[in-house]
Homo-oligomer: 334 residues x 2
């Protein structure tokens, strides 16, 4: 069989690299090796049946994320898997289930284990994270959407929530809406904070007042949306439109509208956020802000590769501009 | 530091096992070792900072699945992650993106690599799989929902689709429906075939005819549901209810109903399948068949563990009975 004959020497010759490079490759020391070299060696080793015990340990990227029940998080995980595959890294999935304890256990394990890098979105229900643990361990990682105060990480990729929510709010204002309710998850995290800022800025820029009675910070689930929107309706505050901080919350608003006989967009305009499968499935199809997950994750994985290969990172904080996907849930009222 | 002092001998003593057992543990030879022993050794090694180069390679389970865009597949992946975590295995995510080529590449990699076992759902758009490759390699795996002809695998866990669809159809019949349309993905795969069988059986058991004009095999996406249901409406065949083979297809039916001004359930009753977040978000909330993903995956991972530990498997084909979750999309018409 080829596997018994094909040697390190053959691998080096066929790949056009030195034996020292092959040796580093076998030891998974990729720091000064280009991805193309590693990929070439991967392919040659596989094609010629070259097996080395150490190579049985594949190159891994871990994705640490709260859960994948929200289709937006599923999009992120799917994008990480796609990007990593092009770099020939495996993806290890770590779901914290919104428990910081679980998240910490995972990070501890990942530090000990043979994981080349981590795409990391911390839990959203606690103001803690494991950035320092990772930094102390020298483990490459890229943070997705995180707290305002946590800029001290190797790399951070986030969607420009100010811009996304500004665009959404401006779209409503352009369509004649001046009383716009805002439903969001808890407020102390950066990405929601940013979104709220976008909403406020758009109103103020248009000379409209921000009515705190129309702003609700609740949770992230559909039932949070249901409960919060019912309260808004009962409060007798007047509004003609609602912006929700994610599509799942917006589904709660849709539900209450149907129960109360409110037509969308005839009686109420709605804009969601994340542009998930839910905004397509909603009836009428919902206008929603798209965060361009594929771009975000491509950027994040590229930044991770730079860290893995000890390449300099010039911009360690990357903002991706989201865009508004217009569908049928907004009515022109002017 | 403790890490420089804690030895194999200490590990054996504290765990109450032999040094030979610890040696097998370090070499990840878990075949004749109980999960409780491995877990105890994991915990002691971590607690006392015992590190061995070989242990940096964690124990891995891979999940091979088409994608996680359909919330049902996301549920499966989430359940695999939860179950594996209790066994202290990492989860490697492999999305075939409905490409058999990609799937095959993944399986080849997994065979070479240090993966203890695989939870495997093959792509649904081709009548091929990699079961034989895995069997030849002696790699433990459990198949989820697969072709009729493929019983020759180490273990197979599937939801009893005959039962699930029988229950759904019977529920409609009990509510007075006799003309029930059926929309499904392509037909040559076992699990859909089973579901269709359940629909047919329920009709025949109730003395109702099966009208082939009301049965449509299309694809799995929302747009397939839209297209197919429009055709059904244009065909002038009469029906008072529709069963869809997954919730995503059913969202397409909801959409067309809204566009055509058909009320659910006033003018049309609908039942979906998979009981995903979509059935909750649908307006009105949709009756749907729940496959009990958590049970399925717990069973699958247990069967995988038995293979990994060379324990005998008495029942290698496990059917999980689904159940109908009744919501507001079915009208009583008798």
């Amino acid at each position: 069989m080829a596997s018994s004959k094909y040697t390190v020497r053959d691998l080096a010759r066929d790949a056009g690299v030195s034996i020292a490079t092959v040796s580093r490759y076998i030891n998974q020391d990729y720091a000064s090796m280009s991805e193309s070299t590693r990929k070439k060696l991967d392919e040659l080793a596989e094609k010629n049946g070259y097996v080395n015990a150490k190579m049985k340990t594949p190159a891994n990227i871990a994705v640490v994320i709260p859960d994948i029940t929200d289709p937006f998080f599923a999009q992120i995980v799917e994008a990480v898997e796609k990007c990593s595959e092009t770099y020939n890294y495996n993806v290890q999935l770590c779901l914290s289930q919104e428990s910081f304890e679980r998240e910490k256990q995972y990070i501890k394990k990942l530090i000990q284990q043979n994981v080349q890098g981590i795409v990391y979105m911390s839990t959203v229900n606690e103001e803690k994270n494991c950035y320092d643990m990772l930094k102390d361990a020298g483990k490459p990682f890229v943070v997705l959407d995180s707290y305002l105060s946590e800029y001290n990480v190797p790399a951070l990729v986030f969607s420009n929530g100010v811009w996304g929510m500004y665009e959404a709010t401006k779209h409503l204002i352009e369509n004649g809406h001046t009383q716009i309710a805002y439903i969001s998850g808890l407020r102390f995290h950066m990405f929601e904070h940013y979104r709220y800022q976008g909403y406020v800025n758009a109103l103020l820029d248009s000379g409209l007042a921000v009515n705190p009675n129309l702003v609700k910070f609740v949770g992230f689930g559909m039932l949070d949306g249901v409960k919060c929107f019912r309260e808004l309706m009962e409060s007798k505050n007047k509004f003609t439109a609602v912006i929700c901080e994610n599509d799942v919350l917006a589904m709660g608003v849709y539900k209450v509208c149907a129960q109360m006989g409110l037509g969308i967009p005839e009686d109420l305009s709605i804009i969601g956020y994340n542009n998930t499968i839910l905004s397509e499935c909603a009836q009428p199809a919902m206008t929603s802000v798209d965060q361009h997950v594929d771009d975000m994750i491509q950027t994040a994985v590229d930044l991770l590769m730079k860290q893995i290969h000890n390449e300099p990172i010039t911009d360690k904080i990357i903002r991706i501009a989201p865009s508004l996907v217009k569908r049928d849930s907004v009515k022109k009222i002017n």
